[in-house]
């Protein structure tokens, strides 16, 4: 375990505004901690939707360990702002968009989860099949915007409007990315023996 910490441990950094920092200073995180109802509402959401958020983060990053960090970070941040988030129509949409931003942005900071994972590392490996590893690998090979649009559409269930908002673009552009991405991905998956592109002499 000591090696784990040395290899991946990130020192706690001083708080800096990140891409998903909207509302960071809004609420005291411990505010809802004593409240039983808030505890169980949060636990219900977390237990029911953690897998979806992880699936989205893994498809966006192609790195399972990092995807776990991202999913846990997003839920940690949700808990820290739970009093304001649980009043929304769809708290999960907030969590997904935070996780998507963490997965997409270059300067992301996983301040909370990096430490959490080392205390609660899952013992059992996920039985992910070769098909699914291939799907993630092929998504990684598409242009980034197409991958993001596809993942947010197929895995995160976001509407075209929400995707446009998350990716900071127009609805029409998202539709175009989705259309072209769907087509490109289907072609890649239909041709299992395609040699690696881009590096051929």
């Amino acid at each position: 375990v000591g090696i784990d910490m040395a290899a991946h441990g990130t020192p706690l950094t001083s708080p800096q505004p990140g891409p998903t920092s909207a509302g960071r200073s809004a609420t005291s995180p411990v505010a809802g901690a004593g409240d039983r109802a808030a505890d169980s509402e949060f636990a219900d959401l977390y237990d029911a939707r953690y897998g979806d958020v992880l699936a989205m983060a893994y498809a966006l990053t192609a790195d399972f360990a990092e995807a776990q960090d991202i999913a846990q970070e997003a839920f940690c941040r949700a808990w820290q702002r739970w009093p304001s988030i649980h009043e929304r129509d769809e708290p999960i949409a907030w969590v997904k968009r935070v996780a998507a931003n963490l997965a997409i942005s270059r300067g992301r900071r996983l301040q909370i989860a990096r430490r959490l994972r080392f205390h609660h590392r899952p013992a059992v490996a996920p039985p992910i099949s070769v098909d699914h590893v291939t799907l993630v690998a092929e998504l990684r090979r598409l242009p980034a915007n197409m991958t993001r649009a596809l993942v947010l559409h197929y895995i995160a269930d976001l509407s075209v409007e929400e995707i446009a908002d998350t990716l900071g673009t127009q609805v029409g552009t998202v539709k175009s990315w989705l259309h072209r991405g769907r087509h490109a991905l289907a072609q890649r998956l239909a041709e299992p023996a395609t040699p690696q592109e881009g590096g051929a002499p």
Binding site: V30, L54, L116, P126
Partner: protein, 260 residues
């Protein structure tokens, strides 16, 4: 660069349409959901709360530390002009580019020069630790009483790491009776396999599923504990269902870790 006109692909590949894409995504989502082990909600909440408290303390101590460091620097410059004071700064963690585009197991032979799990030169990487690896079992194949499957180890960490030798194996039942595992190791001399992020290594496992009587053996193993070479922590993965998963006398043989 090849300037020759490429043959146009049909707009919809005959064997992979949009419905299948939806099915694949849904299957992927279900698989990750089924496998999504996580800290308990209470642990996560506790951690988030602790982190907030730490952050508050850091904010206060950072100001105090900056003031002290400044004072120390001034003192040092005043008293010992050649002394420098280094103020440790927390730096953001590196986010290396991750490319698992070559990790596709089904096309491992398509371009050997680019296959990512490469042999040799472990100098630039470290030994894979248990947590670096996602370990899964492939579907078994049988010939007569003999059953065979591949244990797949995917590097899910963000940097390269290497493996050499044989993983430790231990079969266990869900409850009683306990079972003993006898592992026979054979095959050629172990080679060092370097795995890029997303790179895949495999281990061939062979066992007998039928005993003297021609029936499957009991107890049926429920799980397999896999310990990567040189590690002390095991990953527990579900073992195969009977009949393929019947392992007589708990005897299983393994080849060394190889690429792909």
């Amino acid at each position: 660069v090849n300037h020759a006109p490429q043959p146009r692909r049909p707009p919809h590949p005959p064997n992979f349409d949009d419905d299948q894409l939806t099915t694949l995504f849904n299957g992927y989502r279900r698989a990750i959901n089924a496998a999504a082990l996580r800290p308990s909600a209470a642990a996560l909440r506790g951690h988030a709360n602790r982190h907030t408290r730490i952050r508050r303390i850091h904010r206060v101590t950072a100001v105090a530390a900056a003031a002290l460091a400044l004072a120390a620097t001034i003192t040092a410059l005043t008293i010992h002009p050649h002394t420098t004071t280094t103020i440790p700064l927390a730096s953001p963690s590196a986010s290396p580019q991750i490319d698992i585009s070559h990790s596709r197991p089904t096309t491992a032979s398509s371009d050997p020069s680019k296959s990512q799990p490469s042999q040799g030169s472990p100098a630039q990487s470290r030994t894979c630790i248990t947590a670096d690896l996602m370990i899964t079992l492939q579907n078994p194949t049988s010939s007569g009483p003999q059953e065979q499957t591949t244990l797949t180890l995917v590097n899910v960490s963000s940097g390269p790491c290497h493996l050499s030798g044989y993983p430790g194996l231990r079969l266990s039942t869900a409850g009683q009776p306990a079972m003993t595992t006898t592992v026979r190791r054979h095959g050629g001399p172990p080679q060092t396999v370097t795995l890029q992020p997303g790179g895949i290594a495999s281990v061939l496992l062979t066992w007998n599923k039928y005993g003297q009587s021609g029936a499957t053996c009991t107890p049926a193993p429920a799980n397999l504990d896999v310990t990567p070479p040189g590690q002390t922590t095991a990953q527990t993965i579900p073992w195969l269902p009977t009949p393929a998963g019947s392992v007589c006398q708990g005897a299983i043989s393994e080849d060394p870790i190889q690429t792909g």
